[in-house]
Amino acid sequence: MARLDVRKTWKLWIGGAFPRSESGRTWEVTAADGSDEVANVSMASRKDTRDAVVAARKAVGPWSGATAYNRGQILYRAAEMLESRRDTFVDEVRFATGATARAAADEVDAAIDRWVHVAGWSDKLAAIDGSANPVAGPYFDFTLPEPTGVVGVLAPQDSALLGLVTVVARAIVTGNTCVVVASAQAPTVAISLAEVLATSDLPAGVVNVLTGFADELGPILASHMDVNAIDLAGAGDDWAALEAAAADNLKRVLRPAATDWGLDPVPAQMLALTESKTVWHPRGM
């Protein structure tokens, strides 16, 4: 008699735990690859979003306080974990997008390489963006990038894994924490990615994954007074209202732009979610 397989319950990832939505809501995601699989995915609510922001805020200290070398190693570890589950992710991407096995494998490989690439920036961005400023006075004056804090991320809708990996990695590599709203087209890929990150030594709360709908959760993140920045990559056509809401506490805003997710992020995209701190240190005998 054939064994009945154990199916996965698709939950959110908040503060290192995998809760269901407090609202009890789910929605049915059907396979895009022609199989008859169905996933009942948690539909995150306002309360879930706010809980995720609390978890992300709590993680800012430990994560931004970690050495850049340590952050780089942890992000590299994410690549290792993803590589070890490569075949699973190929299936996940195919389920979500209906891509061919070849195309799905290419996307997973690119996502693994993306983690490695961005991980390597952790201890280099300060060297290319920082400066020693030759002020006219007895001071050693320098400027360094620092994380802006909690970043709300609306993941791109059109890139199941690679786009998601890119927006998360570019936000956290500098020491930010994030609350990411997964693409409504590919929520199961995002939760599987959360399982990868959960085993990568990433401190709890550095990344929080909400499955749900950007048009419901986007305004909550954009107007949340304890979120420092928002990446509107997956915001859709109504992003102007989100940028306006973000002005309530002057969030840093990454406007949506036509992006080739096949390209590695340039430093400016990572630095857009940092602050420049200038320090005047006295000199003298």
Partner: protein, 495 residues
């Protein structure tokens, strides 16, 4: 200070230092001529308004009218933006070294006419001539000199080779450092190949109009710099104008948020330099005389009309009494009065509106239970004045500990441990600047790393340099001015 009951003088200085009366030392004002009426500077010419009106600017120290100027209307803003757009085509393609040469000329002319600018600034703003002469004007000239040198080196500005200017910049500046803020805005914009329409503050339009004259003397091509004087409506027309590619604003957080909402959904690039409530943190090992000077400079420089002013003094508890005693003794020597007198430390409050805001906030401080000390000095009968004021016993929840006062008012709080100092310093929606006073270098760097502020001064305060990026965290705005970082506010990568 502790007093003894002995029948002897309490200190050696009482024996040897008589109290000197200061003789008046007025700076002559005839070095500058002020036109009675002022047009707009658009397309390299002085043009009268199309649909605006006229208003007056006062000397805040006397309430006498200095001049009338134009309140530009929407059609004036249209004309200025159009002139800037026309000029952009050639200015952005000019040989970079030639753009730099224009900026060098401007820097030199500002240095040559420095006294004129200083006197005019003090007349229109109310700040002491000592400050306009020694800080505002030389730093403004330095800003042009610094950015002149960038014009032909933009490939190394950090955006990759061949970065491009943004286009027309709409710039709105405040009244606290009228000429210096103009320099912070115009110098990097022009160096990067943009053209500008600048709106000076309502109460301080005069040095911007004098600067327009400098542009003419420097043979700056018409339309590269346009000055539209006016009020808040003029500024709103400018930042919301479809022909503007870049908005740069320095001013209040409330207006900054309104601008951020207004440009939402557009492709305009925005930089905002807004309010602050800076913590100035004094540890018990600080060099006390130096720290007291720094506290005074931190909050009473420019009558406290400074967005990055050290308005919250955080003193380690065991030296609180000593610091407050020394501070009030030092404040007793400050001279408040005629801004044009070379001995004046504290000038006039810029406007009656601002005086009203300061007065209301100080009343709130008293009502909420903080202990008020104020300088015992006579105030001139005309003009807008406020005595240097220190509140002790301030709680973090007091209005005077949370709200930007933008006046000569210091709130003193205490802390016991470095962790507590950091927590209190960061307990504000603002994040523009902070100060740390300690003799321990490692503590300076650790504190600097943990303070959520864009500029951290150690054993100094309120220092500005064109090479040093300046700007805020959180609700103090975004973007940087000065240094290599400031250039990226006016450039985009090669296509």
């Amino acid at each position: 200070m502790a007093r003894t009951d002995l029948d002897t003088p309490t200190s050696v200085t009482d024996l040897v230092t008589p109290t000197w009366e200061y003789a008046p030392a007025p700076q002559a004002t005839d070095v500058v001529s002020i036109a009675a009426t002022n047009d707009l500077f658009i397309g390299g010419d002085w043009v009268s308004t199309r649909d605006g009106s006229t208003t007056a600017t006062l000397n805040p120290a006397t309430e006498e009218q200095l001049a009338t100027y134009t309140v530009a209307g929407p059609a004036d803003v249209d004309a200025a933006v159009a002139a800037a757009r026309t000029a952009f085509a050639s200015w952005s393609r000019l040989r970079p070294a030639t753009r730099g040469a224009h900026l060098y000329r401007i820097a030199r002319i500002m240095q040559e006419r420095a006294r004129e600018f200083a006197v005019l600034e003090s007349l229109d703003n109310g700040k002491p001539i000592r400050e306009s002469r020694d800080v505002d004007v030389p730093t403004a000239a330095a800003h042009f000199f610094y950015h002149a040198g960038w014009a032909d080196k933009l490939d190394w500005a950090g955006l990759g080779p061949g970065p491009r200017p943004l286009g027309v910049a709409g710039q709105v500046i405040p009244w606290n450092f009228p000429l210096l803020m103009l320099a912070w805005k115009i110098a990097p914009a022009l160096a990067c190949g943009n053209t500008v329409v600048l709106k000076p503050a309502e109460t301080t339009p005069l040095t911007a109009l004098l600067f327009a004259e400098v542009c003419q003397q420097a043979d700056l091509p018409p339309g590269v710099v346009n000055i539209v004087t006016g009020d808040g409506d003029t500024g709103a027309h400018l930042v919301s104008h479809d022909g503007v590619d870049k908005v740069a604003f320095t001013g209040s957080t409330a207006v900054g948020k309104a601008i951020a909402r207004q440009v939402a959904g557009s492709d305009k690039k925005v930089t905002l330099e807004l309010g602050g409530k800076a913590a100035n943190i004094v540890f018990d090992d600080a060099a006390m005389d130096q720290a007291v000077e720094g506290i005074v400079n931190g909050i009473f420089f420019n009558q406290g009309h400074v967005c990055c002013a050290g308005s919250r003094l955080l003193v380690q508890e065991n030296v609180h009494e000593e610091v407050v005693d020394r501070l009030t003794e030092r404040l007793g020597t400050l001279r408040l009065g005629d801004p044009l007198d070379k001995n004046t430390d504290i000038g006039a409050i810029n406007s009656s509106d601002q005086l009203g805001r300061i007065t209301d906030l100080v009343a709130a401080g008293e009502a909420e239970g903080a202990t008020k000390w104020e300088l015992d000095c006579a105030l001139p009968t005309n003009g807008f004045w406020f005595r240097p004021t220190v509140f002790t016993g301030v709680e973090q929840s007091h209005t005077i500990a949370t709200d930007e006062i933008f006046g000569p008012v210091l709130s003193v709080l205490t802390f016991r441990t470095p962790d507590e100092a950091v927590a209190k310093a960061n307990n504000t929606p603002y994040g523009l600047s902070a100060g740390v006073w300690t003799e321990k270098g490692s503590r300076i760097l650790e504190m600097a790393g943990r303070l959520r502020a864009g500029v951290v001064w150690a054993n100094t305060f309120n220092r500005f340099d064109p090479t040093s990026p300046f700007g805020g965290y959180k609700e103090s705005g975004y973007g940087r001015e000065g240094g290599r970082h400031g250039l990226s506010a006016y450039l985009k990568p090669a296509a």
